[in-house]
Symmetry: C2
DNA sequence: ATACTAATGTGATAATATCACAGAAAAGTT
DNA sequence: AACTTTTCTGTGATATTATCACATTAGTAT
């Protein structure tokens, strides 16, 4: 456990031996299957979630089921919003679901809170995490407000390409729609267009990227 | 100056006498006329801007001129994003313009930075400010993605009503459009609709709210 | 009174969202 | 294999919102 925490938390070396001990004892391993909703607007405060290995999508949703993705957590990413309950003036909530089988370490709320209050390095880290997520969210807002759907879809395809490191994406139109906050039909029609233009090759549940340069230029 | 700072900055009482002295000496009064662009994406880092009296609109914009408002700063509000340059992992930029004649105090970047590094109360305050702006921005994203334009416009009218404390708004369709990230014509048409429904009474440069309850229910 | 500017009005068209299905492909069942 | 069921994709019709292009009107300045 200690090695795991050390590799994920940049402030580890700045903790006292006593602090290290406490965190190590109280932190818990959690394993979740792909497709699990691990946090919702209504769920209680977990504490700090550290992804060891896997992928988590963080998104907001509306009453009638539509959603938009804010950002993703990958190996060694830490989710500060899961700990939002302990943060002053942070008044919104998000949902999280695993997109792969995912291993976490969870540092309970009160343990992290005490670290954050007593250790300046932890506090620095918390702020930089919030900043990072704020930046990601601003990117989404910018794209949503100022870009057209074709450009946003092209960007989303390129993002998934870099996430998986493959030009053969295993993804449905529905999933892309939920990333971008639009309807599935809109994605279907645009992808058909992209295929007609020879940017991609479509098959059920898969999208092969044929020309990423042209996608980038949209 | 000292009284001003004390009334705006909640951490003032937690500063050492030396810190107080430094800040008091280095802080500057600035006065800007209504309608001044006081910060843009490209402008340099100012430091911490504290509004003494006035109103500032914080917004993002695109190349082709459209914009959307993120939040407003009122009396005694403090803008962290003007000091974003000194914050790790905060990678986006905003614009700010005064909507009234506005008095600020500006604490220079390096002075605030040093406070933030050395004083835990300042650091707490910085984080809570970022959280607050993040929350405001999430509200905007939520509205933009999940609400229709009529609802968003109704909310914007109610917001301006509470901002000014009057049911007679001095505001143009153009300004509302820039708040909501849409085109002026869209606002014009919706307002006509609202007037036909007897929710508002329109005249050049003014909107009188006739039925705020019905607006709220949209 | 005249010219100018800012604000508003409006038609036409394009882009996107929404609704309501239909059909195809894969997965599960008997 | 033959079937049922589920998931994914395709598509027309319509509503909403965005964009473009310009006309009109209300205030302001000369």
């Amino acid at each position: 456990m200690e090695n795991t925490l050390e590799s994920i938390l940049p402030f580890w070396k700045n903790l006292s031996d006593e602090e290290k001990q406490t965190v190590t004892n109280k932190a818990m391993y959690v394993n979740q299957k792909k497709g699990t909703l691990i946090h919702t607007s209504s769920s209680e405060c977990l504490g700090l979630m550290c992804v060891i290995k896997g992928r988590v999508r963080v998104f907001i949703n509306s009453q009638n089921g539509s959603e938009i993705t804010l950002y993703r957590l990958l190996d060694h990413d830490v989710c500060v919003l899961s700990a939002s309950c302990m943060m002053k003036n942070l008044n919104f909530s998000v949902n999280m679901e695993t997109e792969e089988d995912t291993n976490f370490v969870i540092i309970p709320k009160n343990v992290y809170q005490s670290l954050d209050e007593n250790n300046i390095f932890v506090k620095n880290y918390t702020l930089s995490l919030v900043n990072e997520r704020f930046s990601d969210t601003m990117w989404v807002l910018n794209q949503y407000v100022f870009s057209n759907m074709a450009k946003r879809l092209a960007d989303a395809l390129l993002l998934h390409m870099s996430l998986t490191g493959s030009d053969e994406l295993t993804i449905t139109h529905e999933m892309l729609a939920r990333d971008l906050g639009t309807a599935r039909e809109v994605i279907t029609r645009l992808l058909k267009q992209f295929q007609a233009d020879n940017f991609v090759l479509l098959s059920r549940g898969k999208i092969k990227i044929l020309d990423s340069k042209k996608l980038l230029k949209i």
